[in-house]
């Protein structure tokens, strides 16, 4: 499951950065991957659309220094929150 989410996130990153998925390592920062601020915002949008989640607003500002793994973690957290909300509303 975890690997699947990581794979999906890495594929979105690779598409935005126009690089091979295999070159992305969990500790790579978006800056390392050559992703500028506006591209990072576009990538966040792609990830939100792909997983149907919302990242907290202020996360956008920090992604310049964040790593590929921290994006995966953020997706997992958002998915967990979403599940909790869905359960709660049943």
């Amino acid at each position: 499951m975890t690997a699947t989410i990581q794979q999906q996130v890495f594929e979105i990153i690779a598409k935005q950065a126009k690089i091979e998925v295999a070159t992305i390592r969990p500790e790579s920062t978006l800056k390392d991957l050559g992703i500028a601020s506006l591209e990072a915002i576009e990538m966040i949008f792609d990830i939100e659309e792909h997983f149907n989640i919302n990242f907290p607003d202020q996360q956008g500002a920090n992604f310049d220094t964040d790593t590929a793994q921290s994006l995966v973690d953020a997706v997992q957290k958002a998915l967990a929150d979403k599940t909790a909300t869905d359960e709660g509303s049943k």
Binding site: A36, N54, Q59, A61
Partner: protein
């Protein structure tokens, strides 16, 4: 360079409608009191939006009370604001455009970032959301970006050059500069100019949310805990004249628009450049024949985004050198929000107020020092001090910079 004869340009009237109320006086009074008009977003879709705060024109503003019933159906909210502010400005100036053929020698240049956004949003909702078969027949005349300039031209019979200027968040300053240059170089004797914006629609708010530059609590320019900009709306409109024209009719002069500066960063579509902004500030000083040491106050662009405030601070240091440490710099966006294409016009009201009353409005919500923002930002409380000359900065997405230099009335 060939010598061109130029004329001095003065401001003889101003009008405004802003989140701090109806009228330029209400805006200036609020700013000098350090009162923030930022509050919970009032919007029919507020419940499903992530944007929580905005600086909005008070609900008590009733266009029908100010604008005649035959004109009203032709207007988007942007034009309602612009026409109302223009009426106040023209009244204050006391100018009679019907006398001596002045109407034919008067320009109307109005800045707006997006124009008739409310109209666009409403009609899109009808067509795409409700599957309506037809758009309202006045959709085009309401939403066209030049509508405000045209409505002002029609209202006062102003037959000189008239059009809109668009440069996102610098629209108002670019428009005012264009109008001033027309007077300076003899293309017009007077101008009605400024900026207007009303774009707090569902579609526009969603677009801003997606860009992740909005603060979720309030606007804190230059403060280490700043979290982004807060959207605003409103309009401010001014009457400009050549100095000799204003003197010949015995007008009260509010301030001299002594210099202007414009530049493009030609780098990133959103990340600002200190060099581009500094170039515009230097140009404004040069045209005004001012030295850096002559400036006492800068009304900063000061959006409250992490990128702007640091870059603008560096730009001021580049343009002013050691005098930067003696300047009072404040961002009034902390109080009236970021009215995008109208913001430079609202801030010109603040700049004129500072010159006339010798009071610098504060930067509200500045409570945590940011080491990267190391100028005197006049935190939270207005300051009484001599103000001989002022710069007012506007910088836009797209890397477009427009700066006004003002002197006291001659």
């Amino acid at each position: 360079m060939p010598t061109v004869s130029t004329r001095r340009v003065v401001i003889t009237g101003m009008g405004a409608i802003s989140p701090l109320g109806v009228g330029a006086a209400a805006l200036w009074q609020g700013l000098r009191e350090g009162r923030s008009a930022i509050g919970p977003l009032r919007h029919v879709d507020a419940g499903r939006l992530r944007v929580k705060v905005a600086a909005q024109v008070p609900e008590s503003f009733d266009p029908a009370a100010h604008i005649d019933e035959r004109t009203l159906p032709l207007l988007d909210r942007t034009s309602e604001f612009a026409l109302h502010a223009a009426r106040e400005a023209v009244a204050q100036s006391g100018v009679d455009f019907a006398a001596n053929g002045l109407g034919a020698r008067t320009a109307v240049i109005v800045g707006t970032g997006v124009g008739g956004e409310t109209t666009q949003d409403e009609q899109s909702r009808r067509l795409y959301g409700e599957n309506a078969q037809r758009a309202h027949p006045l959709t085009i005349v309401r939403l066209m970006t030049n509508a405000s300039a045209s409505q002002i031209s029609i209202a006062w019979g102003l037959r000189g050059p008239a059009y809109a200027v668009a440069s996102a968040c610098a629209s108002a300053n670019h428009a005012i500069i264009q109008a001033a240059q027309m007077i300076r170089y003899g293309m017009a004797d007077a101008a009605v100019t400024g900026g207007t914006e009303a774009c707090l629609t569902y579609g526009a708010l969603r677009a801003w949310e997606a860009m992740r530059v909005l603060a979720d609590d309030t606007c804190r320019p230059f403060s280490a805990n700043r979290r982004g900009l807060v959207l605003g709306e409103g309009a401010a409109i001014f009457v400009l004249e050549s100095l000799e024209h204003a003197r010949s009719r015995g007008a009260t002069i509010l301030a001299e628009l002594a210099g202007t500066g414009m530049s493009a960063d030609a780098s990133d579509i959103v990340m600002p450049s200190a060099e581009g902004a500094a170039a515009a500030m230097r140009q404004a000083l040069d045209e005004a024949e001012l030295n850096p040491a002559d400036i006492d106050y800068i009304n900063a662009h000061g959006t409250g985004t992490p990128a702007n405030d640091v870059t603008e601070t560096r730009a001021i240091r580049l343009a002013f050198g050691t005098h930067a440490d003696r300047l009072a710099v404040s961002s009034t966006k902390s109080m009236h929000g970021h009215a995008l294409g109208a913001s430079g016009a609202l801030e010109l009201v603040a700049a004129i107020g500072a010159l006339r009353d010798s009071v610098v409005p504060p930067t509200a919500n500045l409570d945590v020092v940011d080491p990267a923002c190391d100028l005197d930002y006049v935190p939270n409380v207005a300051r009484e001090m001599p103000v001989r000359a002022v710069l007012s900065n506007s910088f836009a997405f797209g890397g477009l910079n427009a700066v006004l230099a003002l002197k006291r009335a001659p």
